[in-house]
Symmetry: C2
Subunit: 360 residues, 2 copies
Amino acid sequence: MNDDGQTPPNVTLEEIARAAGVSPSTVSRILNGSARVLPAKQKAVEQAIAHFNYRPNVLARSLASGKTDTIGVLTQTVSSPFYAEWLRGIEDGLYEPGFTPLFVSSRWNVKDEMSRMEQFIARRVDGIILLHAQIDEASLIEYSRHAPLLVLGRSVQNSSVLASLPIDNLQGARDATRHLIDEGHRKIAFIAGPRDHEDAIERLDGYRMALEEAGVGFDPELVEQGDYLETGGLAAMERLFVRGVSFSAVFCANDQTAYGARLTLFRRGLRVPEDISLVGFDDLPTSSYMTPPLTTVRQPTYEIGRLAAQGIVKMIRKQSIELSPIPLKLVTRETTQRIGPSPTPSTTPAPKRSKARRQQ
Amino acid sequence: MNDDGQTPPNVTLEEIARAAGVSPSTVSRILNGSARVLPAKQKAVEQAIAHFNYRPNVLARSLASGKTDTIGVLTQTVSSPFYAEWLRGIEDGLYEPGFTPLFVSSRWNVKDEMSRMEQFIARRVDGIILLHAQIDEASLIEYSRHAPLLVLGRSVQNSSVLASLPIDNLQGARDATRHLIDEGHRKIAFIAGPRDHEDAIERLDGYRMALEEAGVGFDPELVEQGDYLETGGLAAMERLFVRGVSFSAVFCANDQTAYGARLTLFRRGLRVPEDISLVGFDDLPTSSYMTPPLTTVRQPTYEIGRLAAQGIVKMIRKQSIELSPIPLKLVTRETTQRIGPSPTPSTTPAPKRSKARRQQ
DNA sequence: TTGTACGCGTTATCAC
DNA sequence: GTGATAACGCGTACAA
């Protein structure tokens, strides 16, 4: 255990105290600013700290103080471009109040989600943010006895230690579909997300609702199953053609699905939007760089992430918070186009051009 | 401090011991399997654990044992699609050996990088993986005295506690450029990455080297400055046109840059690859879904991440590791096309079609 | 095989 | 203001 040159020379608070000729408590006080100390001692300690390059042991500190300044963040996968923005927002929002996020992925698996939650509790995180968690509500309540929980993209029975920030997928999908209808489309296909995803179901519902509200009627034939991934969109689009159904527009449950669908259209030599209009959902950073730029429903993920970070911190500090559902907004770009007998007798409506949106 | 129904009912090892009628050390032994215990006691303890829903306090455990089973992962930004794959690989690779990654972003800022390193050390992580870190080598060596370091995308003086896994950007860029030359291109523009990024410089060098090797010669006029982001690619491409230089192909320092450049081409009504060939670098998951699918240099990021995870674990266990530089491979898709007087007297070469590549 | 006692590095509660 | 002293929850020699 002696210094062989390789052993980490981790200095302790006690050694600093000895070097500075004060007691450990004084050093601790200076470190935390928890009380006034004579300037002379203050200086001596600071010099010792600098000299030995002392770094307080976070674990010991947490063990003694009972708080870790750590927030567990349960995401489905760190690698999805969609979650990435959320994580960035959370990280940024947590930075200023001095908390560190602990990101883990559960791979869309409820069992994994629960084991990750156990890990969080074992690590004594001060709070937890869950993204699209599928854990049942009873378990959430149980977990919330250990640390405040903030659930994103879902609605649960709120309490002082369990909050939720729902996202209005239904409204977003309805707006998008209505936009296509307004542009004259009647045969609008839909490529759905995973059957067991709450938000995927809501988006399907929004699509259906808009159709019915407009008197167009919902046609199951026009719906194909996707999986929120590019491959799924690609295959679903292909099946739509193989089945021979006719349509002038396609609404995809998310942007990645739209990317896949767009490739199938390209393969088949169909133009977007001249032949087929295309709409996505999420507004991923790259969607404004699709060819042509994708019309989609924007989810302000980064901002939501920041909101969530601020929210969980407030909960930890036992302050009350109120979270109103996040509204989504349609971003009209260039993959949609008016179709059919135009109400106004224009000859060839020029394709609209919205300015390219900046990506951070 | 009494149970008011809200206080986290965190059971301790000692309470388990009392409930099971054994000593704390016995419980500890059972938890860690560090010694044989009478089946009867074993069972009693396990029942108590289940009954009280006991979860060992990770902090206390780490403080006592001196290891945290945690790996600090310093990334530049969690939100980049490029890093996302690395992180996923790292997380997966760390899972089996029982380590937890601690992801933090330094936002391409050396000062942030160093403060994050301090945090890692303060948290007593068992090892650290750095992605594209710009910290000077002397500091790295200093940090490596506290925990083994593995540096990705860079080459440093290796030791038993400091390893690096270089990525051969130069070779990748050279291959890509050579491919364009082979296809008959002579005027090949290049949109560079940030001036202070080592890999960006290497890619520029590879481009230049290929040109010189082929006797085409390097022309500074054909080089524009980008920033590895879509906006940068968009603007750089635009400047290329404004400056009036002529070219038949564009090689972008990374895929995101290519996305931006592609949009400018679209805006100007130029077809890819019929009018201009386009090549990227990285092979992001969405690049195979670009319209048309992007020819690019593939970096096996996920696999590199797994390799890194395994590597750092070995270093922690004081096993020797050997990391050979990662070769990159050109993936020929549909944004490049033969040009000019074709050596073989074909009339109109049909655009090549590679099968769409799966994403994860 | 099992229990006791101490240490891990801090914070917090006391007196002084 | 400052310094002992006792937690914090667990691992682990050491002894039994």
